[in-house]
């Protein structure tokens, strides 16, 4: 179980550009939940994800993963518990290392690294078997550099990488946002498969309300640094985008006017 | 008629061929390297070349003259040394300690004459300065410090404290300061040393001596000498006598110097080279110290720096600036 208790983050505190990115967010994610997180720009989605991942330290509040208080843990220390797929396909992998080297990096997440060969013959076969299921024809291209792959291919591999080793939570950071619709659909379907297969606890940030409702079992909406909506299971089933909007208006007394959020 | 002409032509050709062969056979090769280009080191090189010319070895006419400067780079100096070792000249002349060391490391057979090296034994170029024994000999520019300390006392008889400015990063300079600290007390003076690691720091170093010393002495330190005017400025302003280890500094404002100049050292080196070209063995040639010193005085500086020079002293001088 993952718990975020009263997380608060303020950027540029004490300056004219002071921005409270998160204002006391409380969220409990039981094991097995697949949570989608939406919100307009500046709502605090990415900041929340970064706080969970350890990229930034909240000004106040606690983060617990399992029973451990990881609030003070840097990213590398948390890596055994947290897997992540970044939004930028190239930013989330090592561009001029090969596919198998990237897989090897992910394979060692959470483990002690030693002086043995990073990609031995045994491991390579293992990688080949795993990457074949992607049906992208990459099984013979393990020695190719990551930068040679298309955006969609890279995200697919990144998903594979993230799921390679056990984790308490999988963080997906708008991972289809940089892809064209067809490829995005492919990656999303792959996401659904992998999460279901391994029963992964997942938090997926997305910019698309439609996408948020179409996948997972729970949707959370952030607005101005706070949780404003949290619907799951029965309540969420059958909901459409308009329904979400009505619910938002009721809670906040104002309308959403973020076009990107409404139209995507 | 034609046969006669052909005959003459053949004879002329044979004679000139003979002469040119003679000339080629007699061509000596002197290879010379210095660690960096710098007025003093360049003067050494000129001294060598001039003496060679006077002995009949002129570049292009009986002499092959190779010169390479290492531009301050140790790896380049090493490659120059290797090039010379491979070219097998009759003599290699190496000016300054780093160049000399790398040349000696790269050849044990070719005669090497070093020049402008202050401490050849400390630099392990020779083990015994009197009988070098191998293929290396040369001329050291070790300043006759004892004589210079005596000169300081003649110029400033009441001096009890002597200021010295030096760059701790220059091997030669450091040796000189050690010598000064040994000799000055014998002349009744204590020593105050101010450090300047680059020429921009010399002015501050000189100023730091004001009020603490009765006279300033500048050894042959490349860094400090290159900014000598700064020292003179301070000496003039504060009324402190400035003496130098090299004579060129007198026209730049030092009141006195009983020095040698690097051109003369170059000439001394050139004479050693000529001896070797004539067949002498460098191992039998003792390392030479500065042979020729001249007293130079600057009466204008004497006035500004508050010093009275005796007539006897002025009479001994080779050169007096009024």
């Amino acid at each position: 179980m993952i718990e975020a208790r009263q997380i608060a983050v303020t950027f540029n505190a004490g300056t004219p550009m002071e921005t409270p990115a998160m204002r006391g967010i409380d969220l409990t994610i039981p094991e097995g939940d697949f949570v989608t997180v939406i919100g307009s720009n500046g709502a605090g989605k990415s900041t929340f994800l970064n706080a969970l991942a350890g990229e930034l330290r909240p000004d106040s509040g606690q983060i617990l993963i399992g029973d451990q208080d990881v609030t003070a843990w840097p990213t590398a220390k948390r890596a055994g518990l947290v897997a992540r797929v970044f939004q930028d396909p190239l930013g989330g992998s090592c561009a001029n290392l090969t596919i198998e080297e990237n897989l090897a990096l992910a394979n060692a997440r959470g483990k002690r690294r030693g002086f043995g060969a990073s990609v031995g013959a045994h491991l390579r076969e293992d990688f080949r078997a795993q990457i074949t299921r992607l049906n992208l024809g990459l099984e013979n291209r393990l020695g190719d550099r990551m930068e040679l792959l298309s955006g969609g291919q890279r995200q697919a591999v990144s998903l594979l990488m993230a799921a390679m080793q056990p984790m308490k939570i999988l963080l997906l950071d708008e991972h289809t946002a940089a892809l064209d619709p067809k490829t995005a659909a492919f990656v999303l379907e792959l996401t659904r498969e992998i999460v279901a297969e391994r029963g992964l606890t997942t938090l997926m940030v997305t910019h698309s309300m439609r996408q948020a409702l179409a996948i997972g079992n729970r949707t959370v909406m952030l607005h101005e640094g706070q949780v404003v909506l949290d619907v799951r299971d029965q309540e969420r089933e059958g909901l459409k985008v308009e329904d979400l909007l009505h619910m938002f208006e009721k809670v906040r007394g104002e309308e959403i006017d973020d076009d990107a959020l409404l139209l995507s | 008629m034609i046969a006669q002409r052909m005959g003459f032509a053949a004879l002329a050709a044979a004679v000139s061929l003979g002469f040119s062969t003679l000339a080629v056979a007699a061509d000596k090769h002197v290879a010379i390297t210095q660690i960096v280009e710098h007025p003093a080191l360049d003067a050494v090189r000129k001294g060598v070349k001039d003496v060679l010319a006077e002995a009949g070895y002129i570049e292009g006419k009986g002499l092959k003259w190779s010169f390479e400067s290492a531009q301050g780079n140790a790896a380049t100096a090493a490659q120059i040394a290797k090039k010379f070792a491979g070219d097998a000249p009759d003599v290699i002349v190496a000016i300054a300690t780093p160049s000399a060391q790398t040349v000696v490391a790269n050849t044990k057979t070719i005669p090497v004459v070093f020049s402008a090296v202050t401490d050849p034994v400390g630099a392990k170029l020779v083990s015994d300065a009197m009988h070098p024994g191998k293929n290396v000999t040369g001329v050291t520019d070790m300043t006759p410090i004892a004589a210079h300390m005596a000169l300081v006392k003649r110029v400033v008889p009441n001096a009890k404290r002597l200021g010295v400015i030096s760059n701790p990063g220059e091997a030669n300079s450091v040796s000189l300061v050690t010598l000064i600290e040994a000799e000055a007390p014998k002349a009744g003076m204590s020593v105050v040393v101010a450090a300047a690691t680059k020429s921009g720091e010399v002015l501050a170093a000189a100023r730091s001596l004001v009020g603490k010393v009765d006279a300033i002495y500048i050894p042959t330190d490349n860094t400090v000498v290159s900014a000598f005017e700064a020292v003179v400025k301070v000496g003039n302003e504060a009324g402190i006598a400035v003496l130098a280890g090299d004579t060129d500094s007198v026209k730049r404002g030092a009141v006195a110097a009983a020095g040698f100049n690097y051109y003369d050292i170059g000439r001394q080196t050139g004479h050693m080279v000529v001896k070797i070209l004539h067949g002498a063995n460098p191992g039998d040639m003792a390392v030479e110290g500065v042979a020729k010193t001249d007293l130079h005085l600057n009466l204008k500086s004497a006035k500004t720096q508050g010093v009275t020079l005796s007539d006897a002293l002025i009479g001994e001088a080779k050169d007096v600036i009024r």
């Binding site: 590398a76 990096l105 060692a108 690294r113 | 140790a74 100096a77 300690t97």
Partner: protein, 304 residues
């Protein structure tokens, strides 16, 4: 070019190949512009020479030099990762400090090693026994050493730890997400890099007869020229090829220097070398997008 000059170029080229490998580790693998080498090269020479003149075994002295270099590299890395000083600045600070430290270690600006027992002394004796001159024996011995170092480095960079170090340089954020404590890897990588450079300094001093406090001038430029020159003439897609390129680049550079010294008709002198080196390095850095017809794909250029 005489045989001595040619073999001499190979010899100096192999010595500086160690520098090139060190520079490759910092500049290319860790993406850390590191000027410390201008200080760690003479540091290695200083430590080694100071120990040799008090009768310490030259092999131990050379090892001590490498350890000292590792220390210098870690200081620079620490300034960067802990005190958040920009890497280039951090390296300059260490380099400047080392000038004074080297003087302190040596006690004077120059320690002569001519005639002392060095790591090369037994090799010279061996050469005499088989009638091979020193200028042949030394390059052969250095070749053996450099190949050993290269293969060890290749093995290291292809290990799990080595891969983590490479990831640290390519994408530190992603590396951290994979559990790599990037700060530790930067410290370790910089230590290894400067240990190699210091070792090169120790060997250089022993082969050229002296450790001088001015030995470090221009080492970084020469190292870069070797790394970049190597990349210009061969494909560096794999670790094996990349390290090989460093060695080849260093040797080619020294051959070019020897060529310039011996090309009397071109009128090139040693004096022109600084300019030529600067032009070469600039060209190689400015033309990364230009594909040479005989090369394959090249490794990504340096990001700032």
């Amino acid at each position: 070019m005489s045989q001595i000059a040619f073999l001499g170029a190979i010899e100096v080229g192999l010595l500086f190949a160690l520098v090139a490998l060190g520079v490759y580790l910092s500049f290319r693998v860790l993406q850390f512009p590191d000027l410390t080498v201008d200080g760690s090269f003479p540091l290695g020479a200083a430590v080694c020479a100071s120990l040799i003149v008090v009768e310490v075994n030259p092999y131990l002295a050379s090892l001590a030099a490498a350890v000292a270099g590792a220390g210098a590299g870690m200081v620079t890395a620490w300034l960067n990762v802990r005190l958040k000083i920009l890497h280039l600045l951090a390296s300059i600070l260490t380099m400047i400090a080392l000038y004074s430290i080297n003087l302190r270690i040596m006690g004077r600006p120059n320690i002569a090693l001519l005639g002392e027992t060095t790591v090369f002394t037994p090799l010279e004796a061996l050469g005499e026994a088989v009638d091979m001159p020193t200028y042949v024996v030394l390059p052969i011995a250095l070749f053996g050493l450099v190949i050993l170092v290269k293969l060890a480095l290749d093995w290291f960079l292809n290990s799990e730890v080595g891969l983590a170090m490479r990831a640290t340089g390519v994408n530190p954020r992603m590396a951290r997400a994979q559990g790599i404590h990037t700060n530790r890897y930067i410290l370790g990588g910089m230590a290894l890099s400067n240990a190699l450079v210091a070792l090169a300094g120790a060997l250089f001093a022993q082969s050229q007869g002296a450790a001088d406090v001015t030995l470090g001038v221009g080492v970084i430029v020469v190292g870069l020229a070797a790394v970049i020159g190597g990349e210009a003439v061969m494909n560096t897609a794999t670790v094996f090829r990349a390290t090989l390129a460093c060695i080849i680049g260093s040797i080619l550079y020294r051959l070019a220097v020897a060529g310039a010294l011996n090309a009397d008709m071109l009128g090139l002198k040693a004096q022109d070398l600084n300019l030529i080196t600067a032009v070469l390095v600039t060209l190689a850095m400015v033309l990364p997008g230009v594909r040479m017809p005989f090369r394959g794909k090249r490794k990504g250029g340096m990001t700032s």
